[in-house]
Amino acid sequence: MAKTIAEINEKIKKGKVVVVTAEEVIDIAEKKGIKKASQDIDVVTTATFGPMCSSGAYINIGHSKPAIKLGGGKTYLNDVPVYGGFAAADIFIGATALPDDDPRNKIHPGEFKYGGGHLIEDLAAGKDIKLVATAYGTDCYPRKKLETWINIKDINEAVLFNPRNACQNYNVAVNVSDKIIYTYMGILKPKLGNANYCTTSQLSPLINDPYYKTIGIGTRIFLGGGVGYVVWNGTQHNPNVPRTEGGVPKTPAGTIAVVGDLKKMSPEWLRGTSITGYGVNLTVGMGIPIPILNEEILRYTTVKDEEIYAPIVDYSNSESNILGEINYAQLKSGKIEVRGKNVSTASLSSYAKAKEIAGILKEWINSGNFLLGESVQLLPSVGSNISLKPLKKRPV
C-alpha cells in the first residue's frame, strides 16, 4: 500500500515512525523482501560529508552609524575578499575565496591555509571575524571606511547557500603521467600510483533516489548540523547520463542547491578545507531523508556498493580520458586494478562521518523534532531537456 508524506509525518508526531539508514535498509530488505520492507519502513536516511566547492553563505551585518554602502565597494572578512555587490549591508562569502596576499601556487604546490571555507567554519563556530570595508560614499551613505569585529550572534542573518552540492556519483581520479599532480581530487602519484574517489556510495543521497522521485524543491534536510532545504537543482545538474540497471548514474549526474540557517549550524559539520596545490573549499555535512512512499522507492534505497559504478578518469591531461569503470565495493577494499596494475585507493569524502549523520537524522525523526518536507516541485529527471553545455569560447 502506498503511503503519503502527510501520513508519514503523522506517524512521526505520534512517535510511531520507522526510520532506518541507507546502510541498514540493505539487510532488512534482504531478510524481509522488498514488499514487506516497504510496508514496515517509513523513512530511509542518506548522508554525505565531503568537500563541496560550490558553497557559500550570505550575511547581513546591520547598519553602522554613519552608514556605509558596501555595494560597489570592497569588503574583506578575515582578509578574505567577499562579495558586496548587493545593497548596503549584504555580503556573500564564497567557499573558495582566498586572501589577496595568499601565495597561492607561487611555490608549488601551495598550502592554501585559509580562505572562504575556513571563514564559514569560523562564523559557525561563533568566532569574532575582522571586517574591513571601503566604499565610495554617497549623500545617504557617507561612510567610506569601516573596520570592526563582527560575530554571527550579533548580525541580522547568516544563511548557508550552496549552488551545487551532493553530486550524484563522481569520478575516480588517477594519473598516468610520470609526474605527481595536485588536483581537486587530491594528490595523484605518477604512473597510476594511487586512485582517489569522492562519494559515500550506498549512503549518498542522490544515489538512493536516482530518478529524484522524492528529493525536490522543499525537501527538508540535515545541513551542516542544522536544518536546511533543497531549493533548486544544483548547477550542472544533468540527469541524462548512462545508468545501471538499477538506475544509478555511472558518471557525475544530478546535483542540488541547498539553503539553511548558518546560525544554527556547527563547525563540526562545516569544515574549512585546504587542498594542497588546488585551493580552499568547504566540507559540508548533509543528510537527506527519503520517504518510503512505495515499493519502487524502497527498492532504490537498497542499492549497495557493488551495484554502484564510477568512471576511472586520468587527471594528468585536460582530455580527461576514461580508463575504465569500477564499483564502490572494489574502491572501498583499498585496492583496484587499472590497466593491469594494482592501485591503492582512498576517499576524499568521509563514509564514517556520513554514517554518523544518517544516524543523527534518524534520531531527529524518531524524536519527533524533524518532519519531512513535501517537495513542491521535483528536480528535472531523465528525459528532461537538459544537457551539460561546455563553454564555447568566442573572439572578443
Binding site: 594528490i187 569544515r271 578545507t273 582512498a346 568521509s350 564514517a352
Partner: protein, 135 residues
C-alpha cells in the same frame, strides 16, 4: 633486544664524522637508518632505529649526547590530531609503510606510530591539518 626510534640532530662540525659506525662498533648495537637529511654547512638530521641490549642502547645514546647530538624520540615527531580528522582516508594511500591503517568495515583510520617513519608524505594529503610533523 630492545628497539628505539630516534631523531638525531647533529651540528655542522660532526657531519663528516662516522658517528654511526662508532655506535655500532663500540656499543654493539644495530643501526638502521630510516631517513636522512644532511645539508652541508648546516646541521644534519638522521632518523634511525637502534636495536641492542638496553644498557648498550643507554650507553650509546649517552655517547651521542656527549658529542653534542640532540636526541628526540621519534614518537614525538608525527602527530595525528584525531579531533580534526574527518576519517576520509585520503592520507592512507600515500603512506609507504602502512602506518595509516584503514578499518575497511567502518572506513575509519588508525595511526600506528610503530610503523611510522615520519616521512611526511601524508601531510599534504590531509586537507584538515589533522597530521602534523616536527622534523
Amino acid at each position: 633486544m630492545q628497539k628505539r626510534r630516534v631523531v638525531l640532530t647533529f651540528p655542522y662540525k660532526l657531519i663528516d664524522q662516522p658517528i654511526t659506525s662508532y655506535l655500532v662498533k663500540n656499543y654493539d648495537v644495530i643501526v638502521n637508518i630510516l631517513r636522512a637529511r644532511i645539508n652541508p654547512k648546516e646541521e644534519g638530521r638522521l632518523m634511525i632505529e637502534v636495536s641492542g641490549k638496553e644498557e648498550n642502547l643507554d650507553k650509546g645514546i649517552e655517547y651521542l649526547k656527549e658529542l653534542g647530538v640532540k636526541i628526540q624520540s621519534l614518537a614525538q615527531d608525527i602527530r595525528w590530531i584525531e579531533d580534526r580528522c574527518i576519517q576520509c582516508t585520503a592520507c592512507s594511500s600515500l603512506c609507504p609503510t602502512g602506518a595509516i591503517e584503514v578499518d575497511r568495515e567502518k572506513m575509519t583510520i588508525a595511526f600506528n606510530k610503530e610503523k611510522c617513519i615520519a616521512c611526511g608524505l601524508c601531510i599534504p594529503a590531509c586537507s584538515y591539518k589533522a597530521i602534523e610533523i616536527l622534523f
